[in-house]
Amino acid sequence: MIPAKFDYIKASSVNEAVNLLDEHGFDAKILSGGHSLIPAMKLRLNRPEILIDISGISGLNTIEETGSEVIIGANCTHTQIVNSEVIYKNVNILKQAAETVGDVQVRNRGTIGGSLAHADPSADYPAVVLACEAKIEVEGKKGKRTIDAKDFFVGIFTTALEDDELITAVRFPKVAHGNYQKFYQSASRFAVVGVAVVHDGSGVKVGVTGVADTPYRATAVEKAYKNNNDSDAAEHAVDGVEVMEDHFADAEYRTHLAKVMVKRALEA
């Protein structure tokens, strides 16, 4: 399988990438690891006319710790996240999720920025950024802005990014107690259901991926947990949600899996 023809430009700065995006608009795509984009292009689900490779831009592949946050550059690979001591100590739930992505070869190439921008409804990181209340740093023609995780995922493969914007970093508040649980699609290793639970002083924050066409915060679970403080709150895992169906799991099975994964994550 061979993608449709495109032009390739290796950008040397975020500014250059933004200018190219602005110039080419919807016809351009950002390329980092390419592990979501290239398969989609081979299947001709996506036919950008120009690819802007940001993998060589310095400063986008660092992991930094501040007093209250961990800031992860958009080009950081899943392997970098798995191996980072800073993430292991301060946002362990992200390491747990990164370890479940694909396989070693995929983790060596795929990036956190790419995964979030692609917004696959079965990707792992969306559940984690929602539960952690992470902030997504983006840059576009009008300058920089910060998007809260809850506002980032708009629909299936759709985000709040404008055509001229790209992700530069993701900021995670430090998380002392969090757990990610996943029921794998056994061939692709995407999440049939993925659940991230973060405990804070007063309760839990629950992010769910794979269940609906957009990842969501399971607020009904959070409320029930706060009232009763037990994992039966998991019964509310899909309250108010239209559950996705595909050949891996129908709605009834997926609903069951969501409740089981939420319960496990709450109890972990």
Partner: protein, 154 residues
């Protein structure tokens, strides 16, 4: 566009289309057909090579992305007519049946052993998650990698 990369220790410069995958580049432009095309969508691992030392699926990397990099393929494993210890172990332990997945298995095994010189069976199984053997010969593949680890550690 023109790219230059080092494959199995030799530098090559070629003029290619941006949409050419690294797998196609290796097979069709350098005649290194040991790297196989299986699923062609990063699922099966038959196309595994190392890029700057890390195992990657070459079907999901554009050759232009590898510009300036160092690539090792299955053809780069044997040295001076001697099989690499991983290849020798696959032969010894019957780690292949039809052989189609074998180049990818050997390349990912090299990655597993690079990071962990004494992998447990579980470590090996975890490392092989991205490589399919449709003959289902996994038991002997695992034995081969254990055997290779012993040889290399001697």
């Amino acid at each position: 566009m023109e790219i230059t990369l080092t494959v199995n220790g030799t530098e090559f410069t070629r003029d290619i289309e941006p949409r050419l995958s690294l797998t196609q580049f290796l097979r069709e432009h350098l005649d290194l057909t040991g790297t196989h095309i299986g699923c062609d969508t990063s699922g099966c691992g038959a196309c595994t090579v190392t890029l700057n030392g890390d195992a990657v699926k070459s079907c999901t990397i554009l050759a232009v992305q590898a510009n300036g990099s160092e690539v090792t393929t299955i053809e780069g494993m044997a040295k001076n007519g001697e099989m690499h210890p991983i290849q020798a172990a696959f032969k010894e332990e019957h780690g292949l049946q039809c052989g189609f997945c074998t180049p990818g298995m050997v390349m990912v095994a090299a990655d597993i052993l690079k990071h962990n010189s004494k992998p447990s069976e579980e470590d090996i199984r975890h490392g092989l998650k991205g490589n399919f053997c449709r003959c289902t010969g996994y038991h002997n593949i695992i034995k081969s990698i254990q055997h290779a680890a012993e040889t290399i550690n001697k």
